[in-house]
């Protein structure tokens, strides 16, 4: 599998570290039900067969976090953007 890094170009997946689901939002720790929300945030994951948005870290390249849209059935990659330019804050991941 090759991931099109926006800075480095297309690179082998071995250069990257995988973090996982990029659609999760860190819950508010001050919320009433924070404990239950954090349980879900930390442990519960969907396992979709198909389109998936996920974080990848280009450890052996530009050392930037990427937000990658990958099809889990075919490994076809629809898009890869720098996390710093993606719409979701990357602070939690980075």
């Amino acid at each position: 599998m090759r991931i099109p890094c926006p800075y480095c170009g297309e690179r082998d997946a071995h250069e990257f570290a995988y973090l996982g689901d990029a659609t999760l939002t860190r819950p508010d720790p001050a919320a009433e039900d924070a404990e239950a929300r954090f349980h879900d945030y930390v442990y519960l994951r969907d396992n979709p067969a198909g389109a998936h948005v996920e974080w990848w870290y280009h450890a052996n390249g530009c050392r930037q976090w990427l937000k990658v849209e990958r099809d889990t059935r075919t490994h076809a990659i629809a898009a890869a953007r720098a996390a710093r330019e993606a719409d979701t804050p990357a602070g939690d991941a980075a």
Binding site: Y7, R11, E15, N60, C62, A82, R84
Partner: protein, 207 residues
């Protein structure tokens, strides 16, 4: 000069010792000549929103044709390599106070980190360089795809490197200093079929 043209050019060389200068592998005119250098190195990291300004300041100071992308801008004794958005490695063969020079040039637009002791560079020249490096790389290093001035940060033989093509048949590979022996072993093993001449670094200072 050692002459190691046996079937196993690394036989008898301890894995954690720097292999001696000499001829390795196929006899005759070597397909690849490698030597190491210890240039002065500093890392420049632009502060948020200052990448364009950093490019401009480096351009004016060193007359390098620079952009915020992965390439090698070489002018005189100075080389500037793009390694990430807003991040540049600056190498100098002569400026012992490269850190101070860059601080003066860049002001508060970037953080500068002294890296001279962290890296060595391999100057690798010859007709078969891309064939040799390709044995350890996961990217296309064919001269048709990898042009003079192109630079990449990637892995070769599981060793993190930044490499760039400085001329038609000359390449430079920046390797962490503690990987010098490992990378030299990779060069010897991979260049054996073409012949490798490994040259000692000179004792006349850095660069």
């Amino acid at each position: 000069m050692a002459d190691r043209s046996s079937h196993d050019p690394l036989a008898g060389i301890a894995f954690d010792r720097l292999p001696p200068a000499g001829a390795y592998g196929a006899p005759g005119e070597p397909g690849v000549v490698a030597s190491t250098a210890e240039p002065f190195v500093a890392l420049v990291l632009a502060r948020p929103g200052k990448a364009a300004s950093v490019v401009d300041r480096l351009h004016r100071a060193f007359s390098v044709a620079l952009a915020d992308r992965p390439h090698a801008a070489i002018e005189g004794n100075t080389t500037v390599i793009g390694t990430a958005p807003g991040r540049f490695l600056v190498l100098s063969r002569t400026d012992a106070d490269l850190f101070g020079t860059l601080r003066a040039i860049l002001g508060t637009d970037a953080t500068v980190t002294e890296q001279s002791d962290g890296y060595v560079t391999f100057d690798v020249t010859g007709d078969r360089v891309s064939d040799v490096l390709a044995k350890g790389a996961l990217i296309d290093l064919d001269p048709v795809a990898f042009h003079v001035g192109d630079a990449v940060t990637t892995v070769i033989a599981h060793i993190g490197v930044t490499l760039w093509r400085s001329g038609e048949k000359s390449w430079r590979v920046l390797v962490g200093r503690s990987y010098e022996a490992s990378f030299t072993r990779f060069l010897i093993a991979s260049a054996a079929e073409y012949g490798l001449r490994l040259e000692n670094k000179g004792s006349e200072g850095r660069g």
